[in-house]
């Protein structure tokens, strides 16, 4: 999303390019066009656009993408601070 940019260098997204088989699934599911495909290999071209939704990681067939997925929502995070990460949390 070009009109909206959020904080820089915070995303936990990692891609192990070695293992990529070039299926293109990550480029298809990412809602913020974080990846590009070059020579049958995916690469991260816009890390700061990543919202850590986890779509790429759960759809990479060879599991070479990792990201700590979560909900980018302040009241949700406050509740995880209070109740702990695994608690049942009311949100959006």
């Amino acid at each position: 999303m070009k009109t909206f940019r959020y904080l820089e260098n915070v995303s936990t997204l990692l891609l192990d390019q070695e293992g990529c088989i070039g299926c293109g699934m990550c480029t298809a599911v990412c809602p913020h066009q974080v990846f590009t495909m070059e020579n049958k290999k995916s690469s991260i071209q816009d890390l700061d656009a990543c919202i850590e939704c986890g779509a790429c990681a759960s759809n990479c067939p060879v599991a070479v993408i990792t990201v700590t997925p979560g909900v980018g929502c302040a009241s949700y995070i406050i509740q995880t601070w209070i109740k702990g990460r695994d608690a049942v949390i009311e949100c959006c």
């Binding site: 909206f4 904080l7 699934m25 919202i51 850590e52 779509a55 929502c73 959006c92």
Partner: protein, 384 residues
């Protein structure tokens, strides 16, 4: 092979015409096969089509007044959790075994948006049980999930309805669904559909290939505008509590408490609170891209300040400098907090980013509120 059964409440029954009415009203037509004990036909159902020995609801593609009122109601945050439809298989038009299968969530607002975009499209709609939550949020919470999709595909016997093995899943459902696992476990291949329902017809017409704009998230003025009522409604309860507390602290003085003093001072601090809320819940969403700064708590400080400054510049003579300070700090703290909360409704904030700005924003907001409280409470003791 499909048998169309129109839902007509009344039918002329020859017998009822010829014979004199006796006890009770005229006879209703006999019950249809799809009418089942304990079930009611939902208002969005146009008729039923019979396929593979069962009746599948064929839904309307135009929304009625009730649907629109319902949308307004949930946008206002009234009874949001009860706005859902039963999960399972539905259809629009008269689909056959080649028709596409669209997957959706059982939040009624999503369902209404989808069906209103399916005019003249014959397709199957597989609705997952997301507990009345939209696709994006449900995918994040893993109720719109691989397991749920596989379960519904099996439960609804999609294999009997279509010859192909394709499912069209909204791209925003991808965080919850792993396409290769679905394929492995139930044989259906997932095609990622457009983000917005309004692109679905173009998508289907374009050989099920989305073009770039369909796959990109947007956050237009209108998309932000519809979120504002809910942002406000969600603050009502905490705000009422804060207002009550403010009334209490406004009356504290040398004689412990004066109700008259509370009534005179309270409107000013309540005004600071109101302006802060306006800055955080209305101005921030509305002017989001144009307010400087990337962190929402900073954006909130800016809008809060711009709302409250005119009030303090009014030179209200009855107010002491400390009271001006208290009003400004209240507006800043509240506006910053409310703005930070809006991160949850935006489609471009990452949890790591939100957590980072919260570590800076929350201490700042607490300091603002403490300064405000201290300044407000001490004024009557200063004897000016």
């Amino acid at each position: 092979m499909s048998l169309q059964t129109e839902l007509k409440p009344m039918q002329e029954l020859p017998m009822a015409q010829s014979s004199e009415p006796c006890c009770g009203p005229p006879l209703e037509p006999p019950s249809k096969q799809y009418e089942k004990a304990g079930y009611a036909v939902s208002p969005y159902t146009k008729s039923f089509i019979k396929k593979a020995n069962r009746y599948i609801p064929q839904i309307k593609t135009n929304l009625c007044l009730g649907d629109r009122l319902g949308s307004i109601r949930v946008r206002l945050g009234v009874n949001r959790s009860a706005y859902k439809i039963p999960p399972g298989i539905y259809c629009t038009g008269t689909p056959d075994h080649d028709s596409p299968v669209l997957v959706s969530a059982n939040y009624k607002l999503s369902f209404d948006t989808l069906r209103s975009e399916l005019k003249e499209v014959a397709c199957w709609i597989l609705v997952l049980d997301t507990r009345g939550v939209n696709v994006w949020c449900a995918a994040g919470k893993k109720t719109f999930s691989t397991d749920e999709l596989i379960r519904q595909v099996k439960e609804c016997n999609i294999e009997q309805l279509v010859l192909h093995r394709d499912l069209i899943v909204p791209q925003l459902g991808a965080p919850g669904i792993s396409a290769h696992q679905v394929k492995k476990e139930c044989g259906f291949k997932i095609t990622w559909g457009p983000i917005r329902a309004r692109d679905i017809q173009h998508f289907l017409a374009n050989d099920r290939k989305p073009w770039a704009a369909m796959r990109e998230m947007t956050f237009t003025v209108m998309e932000r505008l519809v979120l504002i009522p809910l942002e406000i409604v969600l603050t009502i309860r905490p705000v009422l509590i804060i207002l009550a507390l403010l009334l209490l602290v406004s009356g504290i003085n040398n004689d412990i408490f004066s109700f008259d003093q509370a009534l005179i001072r309270w409107p000013f601090i309540a005004g600071g609170l109101g302006l802060g809320l306006f800055g955080g819940t209305v101005l921030v969403p509305l002017f989001l891209p144009w307010i400087p700064g990337r962190s929402f708590y900073l954006k909130g400080l800016i809008t809060g300040l711009s709302c409250v400054l005119p009030l303090t510049l009014l030179k209200l003579n009855s107010l002491q400098p400390f009271e001006h300070l208290a009003i400004i700090m209240t507006a800043l703290g509240i506006s910053s907090y409310a703005a930070m909360n809006f991160t949850g409704a935006t489609p471009f904030t990452s949890p790591s980013g939100v957590e980072k700005e919260m570590r800076r924003g929350i201490p700042l907001q607490i300091i603002c509120c403490l300064i405000a409280l201290a300044a407000w409470v001490t004024t009557p003791f200063l004897g000016i």
